[in-house]
Amino acid sequence: MTKMSLNQSRAPIKEALEEFTLRRVVPFDVPGHKRGRANAELTDFLGKSCMNIDVNSMKPLDNLCHPVSVIAEAEKLAAAAFNAAHAFFMVGGTTSSVQAMILAATKRGDKLILPRNVHRSVINALVLNGAVPVYVNSKVNKTLGISLGMSLEDVKRAIAENPDAKAVLVNNPTYYGVCSDLKAICKLAHENNMLVLADEAHGTHFYFGENLPISAMEAGVDMSSVSMHKSGGSLTQSSFLLINKGMNEGYIRQVINLTQTTSASYLLMSSLDISRKNLALHGKEIFKKATELAEYARWEINLIGDYYAYSREIINGDTIFDFDVTKLPVNTLEIGLAGIEVYDLLRDDYDIQVEFGDIGNILAYISVGDRERDLERLVGALSEIRRLHKRGRAGMLTQEYIDPIVEMSPQEAFYAPKLSLPLSETVGKISSEFVMCYPPGIPILAPGERITADIVEYIRYAKEKGCFMMGAEDEEIERLNVIT
């Protein structure tokens, strides 16, 4: 584990805001709500304390575009807590962290080696800067219908075939909690002068909990995007970009400032600061409790029958090098229901909202905020859904890995002249847009890829099962934009 330094019980941004509030400064600057006085309804709804700290950057509160005082201090504390050389406070979601690290590591025409089951933000970054994806087949576990991590051999081959690639991107872990052999991938990439980038949107807790998969910084990854707002408990949209030794902090700051707001929210930044403090001081117990809750629910769900709440037993030393036990994915196919159908039943009939449902699984997100009795409700409802809705497995599709055929860079395709065609007529054409189920937000089709009959079939099936499809210009995905 990390050796934390500095005083982790401090929260410099929070402290500065408290001090600032006490001074009762008269605001003749933005925001125009003037500590909430401009709109009683808004202040009633969000609370006075919230409005009071929704302030502009100024000398006593520092400036996220160029931190020199309290934000700089808070970033130093965060870096120490995560054992990173530097931690950037990010306010555009982990999407902004992912994009900044890709924009910093690659430029137009550069190759980036990555698994297919990346978040859309990764490919969006390639649309922005014109880098080219080299996909490594993220193998699919047929029984579970989930895509896995990258096999070391596949990464090795991709590196050998693309020695000019600039970086390798790894999910640590995937949405389902699956980890690749990050340490070995780092060694391999570094020997070939490539950077390693990690998407740790679902891995904040790896830095603090015990008996969890290795964190990116510890494995030697060069840059990592960490969703503090997920398992870290900060406000939605706040995130960290971590960099390791040898990376150029000043250049990365410049890259971040290309797209980052100049009015960063102090609600988000203070939530990062306070949550970092909480994790640094109490993270070990917090994630111990979350793990216990997840393990308990897993045990009970597996007792119901037909459901499969999987865990470390699926580890295979390669494409499932490790598994994050705080995650609670449940395979539903033996019930005869798609994950998305169980997801909908839980919400509509039982008032239970889980993180997502896909073709074969649901994922319940467990955190320290959960109570045992809430888990009983989830287990009780799953048991009822089985009693009331179980049917034969016939006709259930499992998720297949569809090998993307990249014909041109995402950027070229996105900006190329295009034509809208009905879905059925698009087979053989090159897509100029994304199609994905959200969540989890992993592309089925990305700009620059050839559309195949398998892809069209998969889109049809996912729509029929009620997956929330997005990415394409036509919201119903009856039509797709293809390159002329």
Binding site: Y350, D351, R373, E376, R377, G380, A381, E384, R387, L388
Partner: protein
Amino acid sequence: MDLWFSEYHTEGVRFSIKVNKQLYSGHSDFQQIDVFQSREFGRFLTLDGFMMLTERDEFIYHDMIVHVPMAVNPDIRKVLVIGAGDGGAVRELSRYDYIEKIDLVEIDELVVEVSKKYLPTTACAFYDERLEIFFQDGLKFIRKCHNCYDLIVVDSTDPFGPGEDLFTKEFYGNCFKALTENGIMVNQHESPFYKNDANAMQRAHKRIAETFPISKVYQAHIPTYPSGHWLFGFASKNLHPTNDLNPAKWNSLGIDTKYYNTQLHYGCFALPTYVEEMLRDVENEKD
């Protein structure tokens, strides 16, 4: 001394009882537990500041939650009581000689201990040999039962605390599964009068009506509960609460009651018009 216990029935309505003495105050893993002594209502138990029972009027509640289903089905032998750590429901059940087994599931062991010590009038049947007590979550317990009880008594707190689980569709569904063919579930069904209670009442009825083929509501007048007008739910797989009642048979048992009688049994299912409408509204509601 001018010491009063007050409970807010709504933000603008307060119900108070003059207290002579506080007998117990403690906090369990689940809730705040208090027992007071008063002149008007005798001893009373509150959980998280909400009135659970008083010695003076608890007979109304316990009569109605137990004798109504017992009179409809004279073949009830195995009973599950969920909640009811005060022992009142068990006391009434223990008066039926032919009941073979009573399982009590209470999440909070401290409620039982406190009741045994300070509320002897309701806790007097905890020593019945047919009784087995399980200290665990009701939803968890019921999940594992299949076709094993003739009667389930859901004596829950309000749906805003540890009792929340017991107002869910998954709970009612699991109760259905746990009941035998002529099984009956009765539940504490909140009140139709004040808005928050009425919402809870409607939500509960909607979920029960979705789960059971027969789902009726009956009423009683309980002075210390919000508005004094309280409802119970009667849900079953086959038996109708009034059509299947055999008054002579129950009366022949010779069970003395202060509130319940078989004439009242018929009457308590006749509800005020506005309550009927509230129930109908949710029965017709589609998800």
